[in-house]
């Protein structure tokens, strides 16, 4: 064989190893949910069962954790979408000189480690007599999730033709109507996407949430605690369900986005 054939073969091997690296852990975790073994593993296989799913389903603490995460996610979206959109609009309307400074300030939460955001939020609100709990989780999470919303809305705004606003004004629309009928519909796809991203970020957050959770136990904390205190394949069953939901959600979102793109040709 010629050397570059060997090289190419090795490279394909490497790509396969990479894919294996990406998926083997997830696969093992998922499959272990069906093993009767008390500790989640695939070797040795002690028998196939769905019991761990019913165990998970019957776990009241899990439902409580899911409920907590859901409430937090909804509240995060309700805060982050308006504020992130406002930030994007303020930033794009600002003069170029002020903009780069404001931009640096506004993306700084993304450059701050998650634990630090949790800690600083906890410290500030202790002064006001507010301890960890749902409210603080929402505050701490929105601090940086707003940045994601802002960046996605800004990306969309860059493609906005502002003469549309002028045209609407010239036709007698009030500024409020211009915003409601022209700008907001234009931003809709970005708002939907960033809403989805905000939910994902909120539900999956651990580092920030850990510090401000108080006595609440959101889903990620629930799982991490289980790992340390008593891991059974019921957690794998939960993980599998979450993964399935996430992947289905992501695919549905992508499909919807592509349909949106094809339905609206260029303006």
């Amino acid at each position: 064989m010629r050397p570059d054939r060997i090289f190419r073969g090795l490279f394909v091997l490497y790509l396969l190893a990479f894919v294996l690296y990406l998926f083997a852990p997830l696969l093992i975790m998922g499959v272990a949910a069906f093993n009767t073994s008390r500790f989640p593993t695939v070797i040795p296989w002690q028998g196939t069962t769905l019991d761990w799913f019913s165990a998970m389903w019957a776990d009241a603490a899990m439902w409580q954790a899911l409920w907590t995460s859901a409430i937090v996610a909804v509240l995060v979206v309700l805060v982050a979408l308006p504020v992130g959109t406002a930030a994007a609009l303020v930033l794009t309307t600002l003069h170029a000189r002020a903009r780069s400074f404001a931009y640096a300030v506004m993306v700084s939460p993304l450059l701050t480690p998650g634990v630090v955001i949790g800690i600083s939020t906890l410290i500030l609100w202790r002064q006001a007599g507010v301890g960890g709990g749902i409210a603080l989780i929402v505050v701490a999470q929105t601090t940086f999730i707003i940045c994601y919303v802002m960046l996605m809305v800004m990306a969309r705004l860059q493609r906005f033709d502002r003469t549309q606003e002028e045209a609407a004004l010239g036709l007698g629309a009030s500024k409020l109507m211009v915003f409601r009928r022209i700008l907001l519909p234009f931003l809709r796809p970005a708002l939907l996407a960033s809403g989805g991203l905000a939910i994902l970020q909120s539900v999956e957050n651990y580092n920030t949430t850990l510090f401000v959770r108080g006595f609440e136990t959101p889903l990620t904390v629930f799982i991490a605690t289980k790992v340390r205190t008593g891991l059974t394949p019921a957690v794998n069953a939960l993980a599998l369900v979450i993964i399935a939901a996430t992947v289905i959600g992501a695919v549905a979102y992508e499909v919807a986005r592509r349909r949106q793109v094809t339905r609206q040709p260029r303006s």
Binding site: D161, E166, A167, G170, G172, R181, P185, R266, S267
Partner: protein, 354 residues
């Protein structure tokens, strides 16, 4: 319900640059009025001041004799058609057209009916539920016009709306715009850098250069009696022969040039001894000797059908262009020979050099 528009000494400064200074003119109600000038001459700034997107730093804008100071674009009886058209891409055509009515609180059923009426007017019946992205360039153009007309504006402002179209469609839309203006009686203020567009459509034309108003006149007057050297050169083709005024009288002037003395109609402000230029249209130049005779070497001849463009060179290297009707091509000189061209004094204009 069309309105007159009066500009009273308006000016616009952006920081230290003056985009427009001291422009005054009045557009009559129901007039098709164009503002013509090269890009950067301030014409779009003027339009945006009339529409209310810009507040003039000096002077006033009056529409229907009402001072517009402090009124935003949504409070003025104007509607604008943008160069990019700025149709709303996420609304179907009928909602685009009825947008201004929506802003005025007209009910949905009534809006739909009015939109359909206007679609009929622009010959796009049945297109109401399409999206703007699904229309051709000419159709989008017409929708933009219908959208502006829907609010029954007293003044329609058009910012080079035809510039994105190809030549054929552009010529067709010119006629259509003109007809629409006559039918609706709305005052049109039309911005363009294309002089043939301005001359063909307008009742009157204002010519702008470097933020200054050069002349306001009918297309015919603009062509025959340019008031400034800029207008003489910018509107239509012209031959310019520089010299010095040596005699004035009876509305005529004699200018001594390197090609000999030439006569033409004189601007009142001319004085003897002043540097001035004689402007002659190519179609005023005829082969042969006459009252004003120029000699030039014929270098090129472009036959265009109804006439031929004869290009020549004066001894000093300057160029000459004459448009000779085909019927008189028999008299035309041969290529490479020296030939005489003449023009009647009343066909030439003498303007003092700026």
């Amino acid at each position: 319900m069309s309105h007159s528009v009066e500009l009273d000494g308006i000016g616009m400064r952006f920081g230290s640059t003056r985009a427009v200074s001291g422009v005054s003119f009045t557009v009559q109600a129901g007039e098709f009025f164009s503002i013509l000038g090269p890009s950067g001459c301030g014409k779009t700034t003027i339009l945006r001041m009339i529409a209310g997107f810009l507040e003039p730093t000096e002077g006033r804008v009056l529409i229907g004799d009402r001072d517009m100071r402090g009124l935003g674009p949504n409070q003025r009886p104007t509607a604008m058609i943008f160069q990019s058209l700025a149709l709303f891409p996420l609304m179907p055509v009928w909602e685009n057209i009825a947008f201004g009515l929506e802003a005025r609180g007209v009910g949905r059923a009534e809006r739909r009916k009015r939109a359909d009426d206007l679609l009929r007017l622009i010959a796009l019946e049945g297109y109401g539920d399409r999206m703007p992205g699904e229309l051709s360039g000419g159709q989008r153009q017409r929708v933009a016009i219908a959208r502006a007309l829907a609010v029954e504006p007293g003044v329609l402002l058009l910012d080079e709306p035809l510039s994105a179209l190809d030549l054929k469609l552009r010529q067709h839309m010119r006629a259509e715009l003109r007809a629409l203006q006559k039918r609706t009686g709305v005052t049109f203020i039309y911005i363009t850098h294309d002089q043939s567009e301005a001359l063909a459509m307008s009742d009157r034309v204002a010519v702008m250069s470097n933020g200054l108003l050069q002349q306001v006149a009918t297309p015919r007057q603009l062509y025959d009696n340019p008031a400034t050297p800029f207008v003489a050169r910018f509107v239509g083709e012209t031959n310019a022969i520089a010299g010095r005024v040596s005699a004035i009288g009876d509305g005529m002037a004699r200018v001594d040039t390197a090609l000999g003395p030439l006569h033409g109609r004189a601007d009142r402000s001319l004085a003897i001894g002043q540097a001035a230029t004689v402007y002659v249209r190519p179609e005023a130049l005829m082969p042969g000797v006459g009252a004003n005779t120029l000699r030039a070497r014929v270098s090129r001849m472009d036959f265009e059908g109804a006439f031929a463009l004869v290009h020549g060179q004066f001894p000093d290297g300057a160029a000459l262009t004459a448009a000779v009707p085909s019927t008189r091509l028999g008299d035309a000189p041969a290529l490479g020979t020296d030939a005489s061209f003449s023009f009647a004094p009343e066909h030439a204009v003498v303007l003092a050099d700026a």
